[in-house]
Amino acid sequence: MSTLQPDRWQELSPYLDQALALAGDERKAWLAALEAANPTMAAEVRALLDEHLLLEKEGFLEKAPAAPQSAPGLAGQTVGPYTLISQIGQGGMGSVWLAERSDGRFERRVAVKFLNVALAGRGGEQRFKREGSILGRLAHEHIAELVDAGVSPAGQPYLVLEYVEGDHIDRYCDARMLDVEARLRLFLDVLVAVAHAHANLIVHRDIKPSNVLVSKDGRVKLLDFGIAKLLEGEGQDGSATVLTVEAGRAMTPEYATPEQVTGGPVTTATDVYALGVLLYVLLTGQHPAGSGAHSPADLVKAIVDTEPTRPSGIVSPTRANAEETTANAARRTTTPDKLSRLLRGDLDTIVAKALKKNPEERYASVTALADDLGRYLRHEPISARPDALGYRAAKFVRRNRGAVALVALVLIAVMAGVAGTLLQARTARRQRDLALRERDRATRVTEFMTRMFKVSDPSDARGNSVTAREILDKASNEIDTGLARDPETQAQMMSFMGNVYFSLGLYPRAESLLTHAVEIQRRVLGTKNRDTLVSMNDLGATLSAERRDAEAEKLQREALAIERVVLGPESPDTLSTMNRLANSVSAQNRWAEADPLYRETLMIRQRVLGPEAPDTLGSMDNLAWSLMAQHRFADAENLQRNALDIENRVQGTDDPNTLSSMNRLARILSLEGKYPEAEKEQRDALDIQRRVLGPDHPHTLRSMNNLLDILQREKHYQDAEEVASAMRDVQRRVLGPDHPDTARSTYNLACVAAVQGQSAKALSLLTEAVDHGLLPRLALGIEKDDDLKSLQGDRHFEALVARVKKRAAAAAAQKPQKG
């Protein structure tokens, strides 16, 4: 078959999901298994996978569509003494054009790079030209010359660069299948160029393969020296939003250094690190942050926290990446084993020293790195030492830096915002006095923050080892005294920082700041003030997160009473406080009391927001759950069905809220004893989740677990066994064979076997579960588990129970005594 009918695609889709999640041998094994079970399906999936590989190779849809061959507006135009010929590239920063000199003084082709940056007035233009001319004096055979920097009559800055024809260094090496030694020699040319620039006090700041070109005859040229700095300086006035967007894009996170991510000072050590990353890529074909997908948060974490795998380790094949490692080794005309042996020792050590998280621990200069590589090539002892054991302890301190870096970014962004919104919101009232007071306040906040961030100044005694978390800690410690003369602002900052700690999961610190903020605000602004109420609610949320529901309840009751008066009983804020209060009450198992609160919230929301508003639906779901908890199953079912009908219609079947409702309804039905209906609902939910979220998604797994529970209640043991074993397959693959969830599925399989009288099978599965990660709490329960009743008295079962108890006792003895 060549075209796909929708029905057929629906059937194929989950199989493709599974296949595409696997690589190499695993995929082969999976296909073989499918072949045995369902040869027709296997043949089709195989054909689609072949097509996939082909499309991958041909780069189908990889090139964005609207790329103009040449923009008609500029060809033939002149920029300074240059005539533009054709566009040769396009990037986040702007477009690049091939051009030639038009005044006939000498013939030379150049690249003109237009920068999508707004320069701030005349001063900005002059600075741009001045700094451009400094970079222009950087002459070296391995550095692409910056011929000129100027600003077009329309005000757009441009750079005129030596035109270099060549390939990115990593592609160049791969295409020519250069071995490790040849790569190192080429890399040494890069180092010579960077060292020359450093000697002239110019840091590159953005070294990455696309900035290191190699011409056909093997000559290295570095592009864009110092341009990152040139752009960054302009970004500070923040006048154009394009600039902020583009500047974010201009930074290449994969090649960013820890200090660039955390906002530390950029020095020559920054280039040493980026060169370390480049060396790592050239030697191994992989990025030190690991292969595969990265979210920005993961990447930040990897750059700041994670020690990269040694090059010799990363090139060794594992089951999952055998194909890739073999191909990488082949591009270095060797095998994975030989490559690993070659890298082990000196090259591992050299790369590790260049990639140190702390700039001071890296090679002191690019020349020092070059010297060590030279010694390696001459088979002399290198200067860098492998990590000593003691150093590992220092890692502990580093572990939290990733979170910290993210906070720093948030902190800086929001700080700017706090001052800004304070001004905006209030000036709108056109009360001049107030506006002036707010401006003073914004200034004071800025001063306070400036003082806090001053600790990261390298001239400070501790150098650049200060982390953003320390800044946050310092700020929160000093906030007591820091803004004491302006308590209102002080409280606002406390509240803000409390929320940052909350989002970091550091609840005790969040709680103490928020408590303090509420205290001050009550005193200075009174309890009826909106800001006070916001802080009270934030504190309530923190207490709930700490599972201190009674205290949360008390606070929420107080806030609710005030909000009802101040904001009115129908204000969205009042209603959300009421909803959260109901959650705190029900968390203490007082469902009957929570019920009227949920009910009132729902009624008002239905009236004010309408019956189809998301918050209204949320209230219906909460109330249904509360009815279920009170064993009022018929009412719960009725309400949940109503909610689900609306959700299906308004949000669609694939919406996460709709899916939660389906799961809830299945649960209610199963508690009612309506197993066939429950099973149908649960299977429907599961099908959608498999399609929308994929078979490996935690929510999909949770639904499988729910289904398993229903099937066991139904005594449909064969179906139950099927589901439990499918679950275990996914968990083994995704979570690993020793994960507690995997073990729990094995345990479930054992139960299913036991109730069917398959004692030997049950016992072996149970032993496997106990020895491979089953949580002690569950393991201790097997003795009394009704499902395992048939095993009681069995010699092996009793031995297993004894073993579990002994292990638990030993673990308890090891735990430090609590006072």
């Binding site: 695609w9 595409l20 689609l48 097509e51 849809l61 790329a67």
Partner: protein, 188 residues
Amino acid sequence: MESAISSLMVAAERGDAPASEALFAALYSELHRLAKRELARNGSGVSLSATTLLHEAYLDMAARDGPSFPDRARFMGYAARVMRGLVIDHARERHAQKRGGLFEITPLDTEVLENAVDHRELVQISDALDELVKVEPALAEVVDLKFFCGFSFVEIAAMREISERTVQRNWEKARIYLHRKIRPDLSL
């Protein structure tokens, strides 16, 4: 037109077909207008990336519309579909060699431009996407966001709050689907 976008979006989400057409038209003219404005600001011949344009559009419209405006992720879902239309119209126009008033929407990477997809193939892809929306909407959306708007897997994953692996898998699946649809005669 101020708060029109948000209310159209709500109506479209309820399955109101005329509203969703109106939404499409409104977003189209908005993106078109912005593209022109940005070009005027930056001087002619400078091209814009689709992502920049979308981010700008969001900031612009959210600022005008106030807090009721949908969040960025939801907005991008719609705008990406609109951007597809814009890109295709642009490719058609360019093919027709019309003069004046052109703006360029360009890819992100500083790659040398080559192998740009033919506008006829773009139309085929778009038609196939319209079918795919009915079968597996999540797959069609990835194509709009990545291929037509230039968002990376990372950005899409963050926007949709799913793992990057899932985004990549959806992309790979969508690509197989589209390829089957537009080149059914392919021999393997």
